[in-house]
Amino acid sequence: MQVTGTVLTTRQVDAYHALTVVAPGIAERFRPGHFVSVAVGGSGTSMLTRRAFSVHDVKPDYGGTVEFVFAVNGPGTAWLAERRARDTLDLVGPLGRPFPLPRDPVTCVMVGDEYGSAVLFAVADALQRRGCRVDFVLGGATAGRVFGAMRARRMAETTTLTTGDGSLGMRGGVTDVLPGVIADVRADAVYASGPMETLRGVTAVAVEFDIPVQAAVEERMACGIGVCMTCVLPVIGDDGITRMVRSCVEGPVFRGERVRFDDVGTIPFDAFGAPGGGSRNAG
């Protein structure tokens, strides 16, 4: 659904910005893993595509608020970073397929890289309510780019932090420490979010340990509702056939081992409808 929400609070969290918006209809329907799409630039804007952000948190205040976290990396996010309390924002959500939750109380490792971590806290809450043990592995290029370390420490059994420059926690990436964490806590499942390259590494580790991994991908989207066909990536279906699926409606959460991370950004030759399969004719 579409909501014109009022910005309640804005805060800067190290290298990132967080906006809390009053959007009761979205908060009510939210499940962990959902995302929202935001129109940027105000009315008469020259920026036509909506920006998609995973929901960090929903709260019941004022009928329901939604918080999302972003980094400024273009004119759209720069505009968003300038929003102040009481400004209005055009949100559409909740969108996408949320994280599936296990039926039994199992041990889950949450792996977040950069601001991708934001989406993991709501799912960690939901897991804990089901009696699951939750451990966190969070990373970023520098200390300021590790998101949510405090909250992770408060809620998780263990929290392992990594930075590329070694300014916080271990030096390296999340995938470097993940095998150790999985072995130590005897994890049954992995929940991951972050850049594609990180998800590729995390999935490889989980496959090594033969445990399921639920990965929330960050693919560039224009519409967020499944009509523009620009956010596709190659995913293997139940029938074993690779299809170019939309990360906005079939995702953003995928079983990691089903995503062909090595082939993201290409059309694999064996994908459904790939050129050479007798369909290279049309435009």
């Binding site: 595509t49 509702i225 066909m229 435009g283």
Partner: protein, 324 residues
Amino acid sequence: MPVDMRTYLGHVELANPVVTAAGCAGSGPELAQFFDLGRIGAVTTRSITMAPRAGRPTPRMAETPSGLLNAVGLQGSGVDAFLARELPWLAQRNVRTVVSIGGGTVAEYTALARRLNDAPGVTAVEVNLSCPNIEDRGRVFARDGAASAEVIASVRAVMRYDVPVVAKLSPDTADIVSVARACVDGGADALSMINNPLGMSIDTETMLPSLAAGTGGLSGPAVRPLAVRCVWQVRAALPGVPIIGMGGVLTGRDAFELILAGACVVGVGTALFHDPYACTRVLRELEELVAARGYQRLADVIGLAHRPPGATARHRTDFEESSL
């Protein structure tokens, strides 16, 4: 007083002039969660191809000032899946459906038309002529009147008589009027314009093209003046041919502009990416605008900008009343 928004595509009546543009409405259910598809004139499908197509690699989209470059590459699961699932879904809900078809050869277009012939729920067929012609070194059909007319004539020949065939024209041609005329001579019942002109953007960080495909179709308000010009020229040359005008329509004002230029139906495309409710909003705004100008029928304003300068627009009830 409510405005009579009915309009005609050939002999087919549409409840109102707002349709979705091809490739911008998914397969129907995506937008149906936001508004009732039966409330707009028609839904235009993405271009259906014979075989399934995986499309182009990503990145497929780049935002440009007031525009959007896209190179999706007609991703879709082919005509069989379309006829088995997508079209029945629309037909069951009585959604008027313009089926867009795309092919690489005249034979492929003809085969597609044959497949659609006995399918229930096809309101009209829109022939996407901006596909590379593999029999002509991959140059698109739409750039050449003869190639376009050949496709249109063969589709018209096999398509049921009561289903209008619409030729979708590209502005990337030396003379859109001659292509339009060739299509009408070939049997097109209506014309649709404009398809995306080709554009390109280069990422100055990576120093490479922003799109994996290099070039892409430019859409959005950036191309609206181009669309208005094309509709204007074709309407002036072929005043009797219904035109579906599209290109950067974001608001009712934009739709009204295309209608004044001569379009009787208006396609909403890129706006749907920004606002899922764009179609119903454009329709409401358009109706208000037409009413505010003193007209009770949409038909009275179609092509009105072509009247000689200084001529009083006819059918304006407010003028008539004031001249008592």
